[in-house]
Subunit: 204 residues, 2 copies
Amino acid sequence: MMEKEVMDKRHLRSIKTRQKLLEAAKEVFLEEGFQKATISQMIKKAEVGYGTAYVHFEGKEDILIVLMEDVMGKFYEIAEISFYPKSKEEAENIIHKQAYSFLKMAETERRMLQIFEQAIGISSAVSEKWKSIREKFIQRISKDISYAQENGLARKELNHELVARGWFFTNEMYLWDIVRNERQESVEEIAKTITAVYTRGLYL
Amino acid sequence: MMEKEVMDKRHLRSIKTRQKLLEAAKEVFLEEGFQKATISQMIKKAEVGYGTAYVHFEGKEDILIVLMEDVMGKFYEIAEISFYPKSKEEAENIIHKQAYSFLKMAETERRMLQIFEQAIGISSAVSEKWKSIREKFIQRISKDISYAQENGLARKELNHELVARGWFFTNEMYLWDIVRNERQESVEEIAKTITAVYTRGLYL
DNA sequence: CAAGGAATATGACATTATGTCAATAATATA
DNA sequence: TATATTATTGACATAATGTCATATTCCTTG
């Protein structure tokens, strides 16, 4: 039972138009960057009328958000890695793995993330989207720190939310650094180094 | 000997025009934000002709960069605090003080930094300017870590530049968080917490 | 199966910005 | 005073956005 079988011919056409627009938009974004990309370029490439773009999307920002949705999904997956360490060493392993996966995304999805970074500065809709990913991570890390504190693994005197935020911030900035191709060092080395400082700073 | 005495009447007029534009621009930026601020609003407020703005500046971005220059200066001062600790405790004190001063800037200069943050995303000129501040700090921190490592205060096995970057990133992100008014906690508490994790993670 | 109705698509248009430039005004200099 | 230099000006060309009345395409119902 493919969903498409059920559809109207015109609904189908609509979906196809939308799809053509998304594909064209992706190309245009990658070629021009977020700022310089224009609706006109997209509709030309998609071979549809100008107004059509506004039928399907609210504007450039909206299109980018849709294009980013699967990348978003991958971030959420990483945020959900389970965390029940029995020792400092085990904690370090899990944390390292998580940081590594997170930073690896920068390499895997570099091109789209570059566009996304540009858009974060410009579009508040995109920026909100990213903020929600960030808060998801911070909440999660915060919970993990609490768990470690309750189980006598981590320093209890530290405000877990502040620590979580600080730790995530380091990760996030390295993510963008890598996205911009500004780091020589391997993702592995970066992950190892920042995890080492963090775990030794927090754990007993 | 005031510089002004030396000037032509017309050079003086030019300086005044420029000044009027800068003051008007600041108001407009603060009222409208970077995106929505327009040259037209500024020249109207400054009571000069449209083209005049382009005689004195290359555009919105350029005006903002000039407006930010004294804030920049304050950042550079903080980056230059001297660092020759004799013990882990002394190091922690200096580092805490530096982090505190840095984050305090977020409160003191909040309004202009808000505009600056918006502009970083949009204008590559502004973004470059910020990047140079960031690199200045990272270089400096990097040197400080090396010093501590050579003097047997810090863990030698860690790549000092990677650690420096990570530490600065935490600070920077908290800076923007505070600028956005998104933190309840006091600057003092934030500085204390992140410094505690960092110094324990890095120092012996 | 034909006619009317609903969903889609279209591009001309009004709007709003930007940056340029030839003309004009103000001031300096010879 | 006449001429050169510098500063200012606003009209214009350009470019992008988002809207909307109209056209097209397909579905439904009598």
